[in-house]
Amino acid sequence: MNARRASWLVVGLLLTALALAALGVCVGSAGFENLIGPLLNPEADPADTAMAQQIVWEIRLPRTLGAWGAGALLGLAGAVAQGLFRNPLADPFLLGSASGASLGVALALAAMGGGAGMLGAGMMNSGVAVSVFSSSVWVRLGLTGAAFGGAVLAVLLTLLLSRGVQHTLRLLLAGVVVGVVLGAMTHLVLLFSPESLQAMQAFMLGSTSFVGWTACVLMVAVWALCALAAWLLARVLDGLSLGDATARSLGLPLGPMRAALVAVLALATGTAVAQTGLIAFVGLAAPHLVRSMVKTTSARLMLLASCMGGALLMAADTLARWLIAPQELPVGVLTAVLGGGYLLWLMQRNTRVSRGAGL
């Protein structure tokens, strides 16, 4: 029945991801080049193989797998958000995490630019070299930490404003308010530090440029954790689909479970945003795409939305690197085109078929 269809879909999405990984490894600053060949035949040309190995292992593979990780995190977060708020238009950034991350990054960029002035030109040889190669916590934390911290703090602020998770409408409104206010503050910071505008734009449109193995492993690990938690909490999402009163009558502890779901949402979104910037649409589109193919309960939806989001972002990332190589398009533009295009086609098909399910 639907269970079998769902299983097939998971397998299908994972195979697609594998194929996209192979493609992603072949696409780089020189466009498409077949590196699988040299990797599989190491004796053929040692110099070629060495270069291929370095490029693939150090740069392309972590980027491609990191794209899957970020996509999975965003897809999962989107499914959680849509279930929690019972709103098909919900996306992972609903509780203000996008604006919080932006503000964090803007402040970090402004601080890095301004603070360095104090170092002075005379320190160019010694002092600044220290800062580049220092492993001090603040330097390491840098933009990634600022983005994550900003996202999490914004969600906490939303929770504070809505005084708990009991009323979803209040939570939603608080999230919108926090998002707007923090967004305005970000603009203010950028006004006084216009040199950060270009770097800010790169962050806003999202990219996997600097995703290495650490970032990649971190994202996949956090996804595994969040997916487990979401799977455990999936029944509350199903119960909530019948309404608050019925869910409570079924004995579900709504308060603590909602809080746990918000925590999963914040963690997943914050991690993805910290590593890859703000990539819109993946969180919104992935659950819808899954639902257009199979109707299923929340537990399976979490896993499917993750796989769908991962595949979507991998495809978008590969295209972003390929189309105008060696320049890069912002990934967010491509996720919107790919995801949005497919959704539009679905909607078109649904209006022709009488009373289609889903959207």
Binding site: M1, N2, R86, L232, R235, D238, G239, S241, L242, G243, A245, T246, R248, S249, L250, G251, L252, P253, R291, K295, T296, T297, R355, A357, G358
Partner: protein, 266 residues
Amino acid sequence: MNAIAIEARGLSARLGDAHILHNITLALPRARWTCIVGPNGAGKSTLLKALAGLLPHSGGVALLGRPLADWPSRQRAQQLAWLGQNESSGDDLTVWDVAMLGRLPHQAWLSPPSAADHAAVERALRATQAWDWRARSLGQLSGGERQRVLLARALAVEAQVLLMDEPLANLDPPHQADWLDLVQALVREGKTVVSVLHEIAMALHADELVVMAQGRITHQGLCAEPTTHRALEAVFDHRIEVHALQGQWVALPRATSSLVKPHHAD
């Protein structure tokens, strides 16, 4: 064995600033079907919600002899099933999935549905004639079909006490009759059914009636008794008449004798 399924003492409840229920004291008997009736705005749904423990209230409510607050939520969910009015439902779940949600109170945290769960869901779906389309998603169903699925969800809980708020919404007469049979079968099994109905004709099939007006109980008694009938007529401003018809009680609207009635000054 306690003869009272649900008991309320000094129950008062508010919605926002409005006081809806005023100091209600009520004892609903076990293995009986009790119907709560009254005009719009009497507080029937609010009373049912409070009895189910879904609404903050002052005063005490006891379920099967134990105060509601003492029941762990899981056990309470196993003994008390609730079917709300105008329930939203996710359009994406299949009929079978929705019915299976009724088994949540019985399922351990991580385990998949057991054989007992499957059996209960099948029984519930067959009882509401929804078994044949268990693979359809909710969004594809009509209003009446959807209501039957939600009813099946409440039945799947297989609780001792079933509270239902306007369960006949959108149901056509044959399915309303089916529902009657269902409730009477449940009562014969020893279950307690409490329903809020605005269809007086259906309500008069119950064992007992609780008549409400303006947040207070005006009468509680057996359906067959004349005092109950009088109370019922009184609460509807004597705009209805209760008559016997072929072994059933029916309530007919009392039409005014002429269209031109002497107008009393207010």
